[in-house]
Amino acid sequence: MHVNFMKYKWLYFGISLLILIPGVFSLFRYGLRLSIDFTGGTLLEIQSSPADFKKIASDQKLDLSSVQSSAEGIYLLRFKSLDASQSAKFQAAIGTGVVEKRYESVGPVVGAEMTKKALLAVVLASLAIVVYIAWSFKGVPKPYSSWKFGVSAVVALLHDALVVLGLFSLFGHLYHVEIDALFVTAILTVIGFSVHDTIVVFDRVRENLPKMYNKPFSEIVDFSLTETLVRSLNTSLTVILTLTALLLFGGETIRWFVVALLVGIVSGTYSSIFNAAPLLVIWETKRK
């Protein structure tokens, strides 16, 4: 007794595409709103009464690129570059009662390095996971290939990374959400967790292959998915529950970090069942 998951496999890909298209469109159209971690520059968060920051900046010949009010009386100011003494002078010009909450300045070299390393980390993580799964699943009986298991899992995790990236590109456009070092952390954590779910399913396929040697592959996968469905959902649910607690109570500073994790993990649960498994079925049954 099992659910016939594979009957609708093209529908699952269709749903993924529907979710991906707006995000990917936004990525091409608007790109990502990168923080000073990547671009270099200065971020100044101050508490003050309203003032004409732009004018003060231009009077002092400072390159103020954006002003954002995050809460009442709290302003986030972004400069191309602003050293500590310029910052002091700038704050003095605003008037009395200015409280500096945060001052961050990153040089362009550091920013460029960060971008390179972040991309490299995602690529390396994907490669390492393909290799690990291929190695760990090397016992699957012929004619099945453990590399196909590995690559299917990684396609699913790249799907999840793309969902999060696309969504944050939209968020950046709509709500001025920035991509910072923490966001890269969230993406890599999502990557690690996405494979978590996929492996639970694949592990069961590996176990069922010898037992059900006379059944077609798609039926074996259907059977394995049915058997592992509850635990896939439950393991994701526990993480979603704690993340929801963080989202509701964890405060402003890490809010978008938690949102990225949450979206990625929901997407990871979907993709392991509805992308990784069907992909494996299509690939493994294509041969004559």
């Binding site: 993580a125 890599l188 494979v195 979603i240 607690a245 964890g250 890490i254």
Partner: protein, 426 residues
């Protein structure tokens, strides 16, 4: 039996590490023990207090780029280390509780990372660190000077010094440690003039206006190299070279990154994260009991053990706790029971397939292992890459994640299995 004892010992150690630093029971005060021993010449000291990152405690984070282009490759690491010691000395005068001054290498670039918790004035910090050297050579007209006032400035300062090193005398006092110093071309010229003028007289080295040593000049020195001999012990000679190198500021540094985090933001964050952690924990507890009944309750007990061991390890390693790290910890509470879920679901299956209860419990652990192993391995791989990719708070997150995964494997498998065996022994 033996595994029970090992588990209990680990739990006990974790509990002790997590006690408040001073516990008052009636008239009795208990103090949390400190770890302090020396093994193979390396001192191991932990006071078992939580180290908070700058985003939680508030403070100044500075990254300097060291310009080593004027130095040959072989001298670079030593020069950067000397600069670090210099900065450390200057920072100590700020009275920061535990300043962190680290060197790091990015490609061929050397960086110095300075973290000052509790400092809010970034200008004060940068001007102090960036101040120029105060090493000075002073000459005297008096043959046997009695006080610092007898010396007059020569104009030869730390800017003219390139490197100081400990060496061992090969001449008549063989094996005696001496300090060799090397001047820049400019400094060598000045040094040659000064020494030729003061043969037979002491030439004093002052560091931050304090007399360090005043060796007597034997001959004029023209090659820009000098040896300071005195009755140094090896430790004294080493300390002097560090001071000299530090005073000399062998390489220019400039700021490439600076962050100033207000303290109020940190305190708020800690409170909010703690609330989130507590809520998350209670929800997970209920979730496990609702879904798995008695087994779930045992997993919940294992989860408490997980939290105890996790916190103890954070203090022991020690890992600096950042906001992202706390988020990682809350996340890991959700992930810590995942192995339990995989195992319990397997047990349900084994029962459905007609196994007797006791066998089903054992098989549940045994057969769920491959999926538990593989899924956690993939998380460890990404945690490793995160550690490599990141600095500061990202590394904190990666470390907390990795520690969380490893500890959760222990509690969700070993501890839960022991509890289950106790309950289902009959």
């Amino acid at each position: 039996m033996r595994s029970h004892i090992i588990i209990l010992t680990i739990i006990l150690l974790a509990v002790v590490s997590n006690l408040p630093s001073r516990l008052q029971i009636g008239n009795l005060s208990l103090y949390r023990p400190r770890i302090d021993f020396t093994l193979l010449g390396r001192r191991f000291y932990r006071d078992l207090s939580l180290k908070l990152g700058l985003d939680l405690s508030g403070g100044v984070h500075l990254v300097y780029q060291a310009d080593t282009s004027s130095l040959p490759d072989s001298d670079r690491a030593a020069a950067v280390e000397a600069t670090r010691v210099n900065i450390e000395r200057r920072v100590n005068s700020l009275g920061v509780a535990e300043p962190i001054i680290q060197t790091s290498k990015a490609g061929s670039d050397y960086r110095l990372i300075v973290e000052l918790a509790g400092i809010s004035d970034i200008n004060q910090a940068t001007s102090l660190i960036g101040q120029t050297a105060q090493l000075e050579f002073r000459s005297t007209a008096v043959a046997t000077p009695s006080s610092a006032a007898d010396f007059t400035s020569t104009g030869l300062t730390g800017r003219d010094l390139r490197l100081a090193q400990v060496q061992f005398d090969s001449g008549k006092a063989a094996g005696q440690p001496v300090v060799s110093i090397e001047f820049s071309p400019d400094g060598a010229k000045k040094f040659s003039e000064i020494t030729s003028k003061s043969i037979g007289k002491p030439l004093a080295i002052f560091l931050d206006n304090q007399l360090v040593t005043a060796p007597t000049v034997q001959t004029a020195i023209t090659d820009g190299r000098a040896v300071i001999s005195g009755n140094f012990t090896p430790d004294e000679a080493k300390k002097l070279t560090i001071q000299l190198n530090a005073g000399a500021l062998p390489i220019p540094i400039h700021i490439i990154e600076q962050r100033n985090i207000g303290a109020t933001l940190g305190v708020e964050s800690i409170h909010k994260s703690l609330v989130a952690a507590a809520v998350g924990l209670v929800v997970i507890w209920l979730f496990m009991i609702v879904n798995y009944g008695l087994k779930g309750l045992l997993a919940d007990l294992a989860l408490i053990v997980y939290i105890l061991i996790f916190l103890a390890l954070i203090k022991l390693i020690p890992i600096t706790l950042t906001l992202a790290g706390i988020a990682g910890f809350v996340l890991s509470i959700g992930m810590a029971v995942d192995a339990n879920i995989l195992i319990f679901e397997r047990m349900k299956e084994e029962l459905r397939w007609g196994r007797p209860l006791k066998a089903a419990v054992e098989l549940g652990f045994h057969r769920a292992w491959t999926s538990v192993r593989d899924s956690n391995a993939s998380s460890l791989i990404t945690a490793g890459l995160l550690f490599w990719f990141g600095t500061g708070s990202v590394r904190g997150f990666a470390l907390t994640l990795a520690v969380g995964i490893l500890v959760s494997l222990f509690t969700s498998i070993t501890v839960t299995r022991s509890l289950l065996r106790l309950v289902y022994a009959r």
